[in-house]
Subunit: 420 residues, 2 copies
């Protein structure tokens, strides 16, 4: 069972908006065992819409379209659909009444264009939109299902959840699909691939592994498709198979895995701090507050995070963290000695149990032969020990800041867990 997602509208093609609807729909359909085999976008033009529908119908049995339905664009799409599905547009009193009630509730005058919104094809199932004015439409033609939804994300999500997904479950017999994702940090795609090569080669035929890299991180996603007879326990059995594969994979690279599914490093570090009852702070130079920002982007961070200092200048490193001017003169700001003194100083300045210090050359300029752009020293301390490490990242300032944030948080995680 496959689906094709079609978006209608110029604003997606010229890059004025990013299409986040398709990703949401892909996830939801996948959970029902409906594989999205393709996606496409066409301009807000009758010929393009017709060609897009023909193409989608040639590829899948379910076509879900977003966009092109609404008070301003409505006419063109709807008359194109009426022609495509051989419909007549008829006035629906109950749609009109619902829209009128909607405007009464939000205390706004009802625009005249709303009468148009109540004209709908006579051979479509009308999908009731309780959170907006444009209803969704469900057509069947040559054994294929065509669903049309408004492009406003929360209206689309409302209609999918309440009107479309339940009908799809009834209408199609679907094959269970499930996913498990391991989140890793600190190692590149190729090196991970080498370590897990045997595991990957031995995967069952119905389980696939995908590498999803981002800065300093790689997500490893296992996807299983049920390939036996579909019974009431298929979904549970597939889940158990994937859980076993996931456990096996994690056992090969326990040093790299920091979390699962929708975890983030800052959430994981926060949970460990909370569980251990520890207070944490940062002393940042080249990251300029980025790590503190990550930590405080998690709700409830105030339970374990009293504050940070960003010390960009030598003077601030000395004044706020007690780094000795001699250290700075002798070894420079980007050195093991400096980050050690920064993290130890931060324990006192911030009154925390654990501190992370970072100093580096974010770039694009400021490198030297022995300390090229991208060189970063970081140290993590508690009252009994300090561990310092050096990395050399790339030449792009913002990427260096972001990847340093990832490595820094991962260093703290390992330190808290006693893994280093």
């Amino acid at each position: 069972m496959t689906a094709h997602l079609l978006t209608i509208g110029d604003e997606i093609l010229i890059g004025q908006i990013t299409d986040s609807n398709s990703a949401w729909m892909g996830r939801e359909l996948n959970l029902l065992g409906i594989r999205v085999s393709g996606k496409s976008s066409v301009a807000d033009d009758p010929a393009d819409i017709r060609a897009g529908l023909d193409h989608a119908a040639s590829l899948a049995n379910l076509i879900i379209t977003t966009g092109g339905l609404g008070p301003t664009k409505d006419d063109r799409t709807k008359s194109t659909l009426a022609e495509y599905f051989g419909s007549r547009l008829v006035f629906h009193q109950e749609i009109y009444d619902r829209i009128a009630a909607y405007f009464a509730r939000v205390e706004r005058p009802m625009p005249p264009s709303m009468r148009e919104q109540s004209m709908q094809p006579d051979n479509a199932l009308i999908l009731n939109n309780k959170v907006g004015t444009a209803p969704g439409l469900w057509f069947e033609k040559n054994g294929k299902v065509f669903v049309f939804l408004p492009g406003v994300p929360f209206e689309m999500e409302y209609l999918m959840t309440n009107e479309v997904l339940p009908r799809l479950v009834e209408r199609f017999q679907t094959r269970p699909i499930a996913h498990r994702t391991l989140l890793t940090a600190g190692e590149g795609e190729s090196n991970i691939a080498r370590r897990i090569e045997q595991f990957e080669d031995a995967l069952p035929a119905n389980v696939k592994l995908a590498y999803l890299p981002s800065l300093g991180q790689v997500r490893l996603r296992l996807t299983g498709v049920w390939d036996g007879d579909i019974t009431p326990t298929s979904h549970t059995e597939l889940g158990a198979l994937l859980d076993a594969q996931k456990a096996e994979l994690e056992a090969i690279i326990p040093d790299l895995v920091y979390g699962y599914e929708t975890d983030t490093l800052e959430k994981v570090v926060g949970k460990i701090l909370q569980a251990q009852g520890k207070q944490f702070g940062t002393a940042e130079s080249c990251t300029g507050g980025y790590v503190a920002h990550l930590i405080t982007s998690v709700p409830g961070a105030s339970n374990y995070f009293p504050g940070s200092v960003v010390t960009y200048s030598y003077e601030m490193k000395t004044k706020l963290l007690g780094v000795s001017p001699h250290t700075l003169e002798t070894h420079g700001a980007v050195s093991e000695q400096t980050v050690r003194e920064m993290s130890q100083g931060a324990l006192d300045t911030l009154g925390v149990d654990v501190a992370l210090a970072i100093s580096g050359i974010a770039g694009p300029d400021g490198g030297t032969p022995d300390k090229p752009v991208g060189t970063v020293w970081m140290a993590v301390s508690d009252r009994t020990r300090t561990i310092a490490v050096r990395h050399v990242f790339g030449r792009d300032r913002l990427k260096n800041i972001q990847i340093t944030g990832t490595y820094g948080l991962n260093l703290v995680r390992k330190f808290l867990l006693g893994a280093i």
Copy 2:
């Protein structure tokens, strides 16, 4: 001249990642006068890739593909391309050397799979990827151009900017298009629209205005398409027309415009600080270092930014900034009195000429009837005056942090310019 964008990869179809590449490419191509007439996505499967290429080629003369190029096993794209374009895969020593140099620089062992990365089709132009390992590829077939790029956004952007866009300008003759963008902060789309209504109604037929809103900001983009005969001076004449329109627009809303084109608030604030020879720092509570991060994301920030303090707890506000415990007890951390004391304290703690202090309730919890979630107080100080303002934003934590960053930097900009 039209283009089709094709993404390859299961992760987009199952909704694990949102396709932000297409929006970026759509915008950039548009600037060159190349219209994106459609977009599509196919699975990481040879038959789907071939069908996707055929479909794309039936719709446009330029096909740009992202994804499916990379070192690991989930990438079957290259052999599919070799077959599609009748190529032989040959070893490229210079690609191998470049990848080896890359791994040497970041001080990591080079995985054996990198030899695979150096095998490339013999009839493609190799697009040199200086920020990653997978090169881009440029094929020509039946008069159509096919470009293949890795899916990692910053690698794709690097290759588009440095290798693809300049070649497209040479390869295709396009009707001159030009853009001018005014950047505004602190006012919403509808209120701006009302203020510039007459200007918008009087625009020449070949100039369009687009509103591009983001958190706390609206970019106003004027796009002109040359509608006369194409002569050597068309581009200059079109530019002059747009410059005049831009000046007229700015004169209507001078209080809202903070910059042009690719400016950012943090760059603009940095330039003013540098020009005025002033040092700046922040004292942040609810933004948790985000404003310091913005400031330090600009190269050369160390010229005007010695540091910041993030004071999440009452204790840190008192210890690091000298906020009186009495103030905190009487008025609370989110109050005019507290942010005034924070910004004045930051002048001394950080030894700066101008300081910004922020304290608010980022959410999702922690609001009270008189201080709901989204309430933010901010103050900017120099040695002679302090200005404090209050805003009430929304309920989403991350959005509140980001919009507060925008409003905070804009407050500093106006303060420095003497506009408040």
